[in-house]
Symmetry: C5
């Protein structure tokens, strides 16, 4: 696509998007949803159907404006993040990450999304749910490790996002808490070299889907992320992992306007 056409699309999208910065109050809610325990995180990945490519650009922009409307309507109760997975993951074109206190709120959003003009072009590639919980093993870690874990992440954008679903083997759950804690200490120590450049977030899934955990990563340095995963494959706890990925979802975190621009083309 020529850059002049690209510029036209950007202008058209911005024109319909307008200012969608969330007011301060809302941002506070979002901070709570993204940091507190007892919150349900849902990852929903979609592919665009074949008709999407055939719609003309004006129609696509109109539909994307509907997407903006649906997202805005649910922002009060749900923190919604968007990722462009097209071109990086073979499973999906677009991924939503949602945080809500009640899973029903997330369901309502996804129902509205799927029944919208934009949503009619979406085919569900996967939905995974997890719950944020207080750290299970950290309280028993040595003080130095606890302190190290508080190292601040480097500031600046972390455009790459990776989601790795995990299922532990039954042997893992059969271990007593002490043995699991010792292995999780080794696991945690292996993450320290990457604590500044790779942000991690953990969701507990048992019963909510076919997983035990959803692990979520953000980074601007993919090579560090790769090294982190390699380190985690070498600790003893990894022997108790039955499923790791399948699928691994990799995408780029994008603002709603940027997603709209990318999909409008």
């Amino acid at each position: 696509m020529s850059s002049s056409l690209s510029l036209f699309v950007r202008c058209a999208v911005l024109a319909v998007v307008g200012l969608i910065m969330a007011p301060a109050v809302e941002a506070a809610d979002r901070d709570k949803l993204l940091s507190e325990p007892g919150v349900y995180g849902t990852f929903a990945a979609f592919t665009l159907d074949e008709d999407w490519a055939k719609e003309d650009q004006a129609t696509r922009i109109a539909h994307l404006t509907v997407l903006r409307g649906v997202v805005e309507q649910h922002r009060e109760k749900i923190a919604i993040d968007l990722y462009l997975t097209r071109g990086l993951s073979d499973h999906a074109d677009i991924m939503f990450r949602m945080h809500a206190v009640e899973l029903r709120e997330t369901q309502k959003f996804l129902l509205d999304l799927q029944s919208s003009l934009f949503g009619k072009h979406l085919k569900t590639a996967g939905i995974m749910h997890g719950l944020t919980k207080k750290a299970n093993y950290v309280p028993g870690f040595p003080d130095q490790l606890k302190a190290d874990l508080k190292t601040a992440s480097e500031s600046g954008p972390k455009p790459y996002a990776i989601v790795i679903p995990i299922r532990k083997s039954p042997d893992w759950w059969a271990l007593d808490q002490d043995k699991r804690a010792a292995m999780m200490k080794e696991h945690t120590e292996a993450t320290l070299p990457y604590i500044k450049t790779v942000k991690r977030k953990l969701y507990h899934s048992s019963g909510l889907d076919d997983l035990d955990f959803i692990t979520y990563f953000e980074t601007s340095k993919l090579e560090d992320f790769h090294s982190l995963i390699l380190s985690l494959e070498k600790v003893k706890e990894f022997q108790y992992t039955r499923r790791f990925g399948h699928p691994t979802l990799i995408g780029t975190a994008m603002s709603l306007p940027d997603i709209m621009e990318a999909l409008a083309q």
Copy 2:
């Protein structure tokens, strides 16, 4: 979707639905079907085809009215529950749970459903059958445990429903009855902390499909349900589970009018 339009849909749906409360006699049959042994429970999950989204609302409402008719026609012989799985499960949009004394009655209902105007939009995502049976291990449990198991479930709605299909390993069935009973006692004890907030129901499937059991849960507190599953993963009996979920189906229990309203949009 704007709330005014939503209100319009609700009115339209209610207008065609009318009063569908089942008379007292029927309710009694339903109670028996849902509580007695020797009843066949079938879980049938469907996705809506791509044409559904393209039908205009009036057509969708007309088709949903047909759904109501088919359900009513079979209410005498089958207890039918509906769940909205769209937005929560990636496998299905809608799930039916049916209880009948003869599996042929359930087949007749599903045949009528699938050949109806509404049913032509349904694509079968999965069908699982199980039989309710008298408790196998409970009679041998200590009196205290038996008493604990009689703890009443908290009243009030339990909107979330989860279905987890299970296949045991051949090693499980090779154990003698005493060893299995001892492990099931440990399993049962692990469920006690959640007995008030998470309702469970068990279906025996061996031979009727590719499962040994279908486990069904209802709760308003998903976090309790998650904790329950986590506890069950830690008891010894879980080591003898070859398949747990795959798929796990999660949805919200809904009355027929509410399902109709949700799908009409």
Copy 3:
């Protein structure tokens, strides 16, 4: 569907079906095919495509009449049974069981079926082949067990039919004949309590498809069938089973006119 419309369909179907009772000579061939060793049994399961539901009833009846013609044309060489799996199995709508002395005869029938006006609506869900053989282990069984195995099946219709494909583990085939015979004796004894109410038939598949055996069951008492499978899961021989089901196919045996009526609706 209202019962008056259903009656109309029944009449229309019967009108085109006419008398399709097979003459006595043919029945004798059928008896031989269904009881003798050296016969190839094929199970072919199909789903109906999306266009089928959209055809009007007259067209559907016309197409089903073609089905009748194709079946009749091949009755001389093949014993053909039909099962309605729709509403019970998620893999298929209709299943054919065919017995023939040469597998090419079965192929010819299925070719004619698939190229017929009715067959154009069929999508193949699965084809499995097996060979009937003289009992392998029975000759070495104690006389009492041999006598017990001759217990007559209860008369009366056995509407439910279940097909369970089986693959043994390599360890099974590595056992010497004596060890396998001892386990099959235990296996056979476990079936005795259900010998009156559950009919069984065994097909040997190694090399003809990805299975070692196809097991076929008929019953009017599904609970007995379930108990039978549960008993078979508890004997030692089951430890040597790598695949059991996947898919399990469950349906109702139906005459050709009844299948036609069910599919015409």
Copy 4:
């Protein structure tokens, strides 16, 4: 299909097919390709798309004439065999077996086939490649076994063809050559009773696809083939087989005119 119509189709097909007997020179090349080491064997299985069934017969015959043209065009460099798998295998309707000295020649044929009018109706079900090599273990076998292996196959047509892809376990390759040779001797001895009625051909696949071997069988006596596979499942070497079939492809070998006639209907 009535036999008079069938006769018409046969005439129409023969009329367009004409004489396609290959001249003597070509046959010699074919013999070399089918008997020498260092030749690439490719098995390509296809299903016919839904439009094929909707084309009228004249169009189908015209398209099949194109198939004949494509096959003839590549006969100089590739030995091409055709199999009708429809009605016997659920994975495919038609299978091509190709032998060529360079895999690129096979690719060229398949490219021409797929871009032809007939090929536009083909959907690829599977492609497998293997290399013919000099016998690995036979040179070390006892003289008697070597002599037995030279027993001529019974003359006459062998209409059934079966393809079984195989992957060995890593344990197999970790064994030293002597141990593998001893097991292959036992394996080979197990095949002797069927050497007259079941023809075998072996292709080595490691690296060329997800297999280690493709085994190909031809027979007129399927029961002997079944017994052969059963014998091979009982030898020690079978314990080192990770994948056997999946899919097993079974079909009938057919001349091009016969395939054309079968597909024209």
Copy 5:
């Protein structure tokens, strides 16, 4: 296709392609991307949709010209190689290999590709990412082995390209570095006989997709490649491989004009 028509297509394609030789500066960048560590290699495989075959040739050529434009537009930042997998792999028709310093650049190219007129006909078959890194075990190898590894590859075209994705077992990563190094020495020695005729390149994938490694091969002698893989299956390190292929992708490396010509037909 007759060779005269083929000639016409070749002329038409060349006419629209024009001279697309990359200037010297660009080639240098390409050399760096293909030889240095810290570069992201992406393999994206696509199938052509059913509409592609139905477009007339002029339209196909026009769309392929768009492909050329998209490739040229991104050549500055990405090294792009094309492979024709149609006729050799059942998973894909065309494969792109891309090397870029930032994975986002590759995403941008694939987004532009997929939203182009040509790209609308592409269905994603698979995307895999890996990172080039400095050799891990080679520095510790004996000098002779290091010298042997520097043997130059035979010059001349290497038309066949094979991609084999690999996942190691958790046991592999649990081994200490010395044990892994010893096994990788044995692995490397097994590759020496083929070092002249089979080019290899390794990509590290852990975390970037569901793999640990992507191995890429180029050769003109497929039999040597097959022998190489067979040798690698026999070394101890292969016991620690959980996934090898699935899919194995095999195709022929082609220049953009040649790909355009092949797909235009």
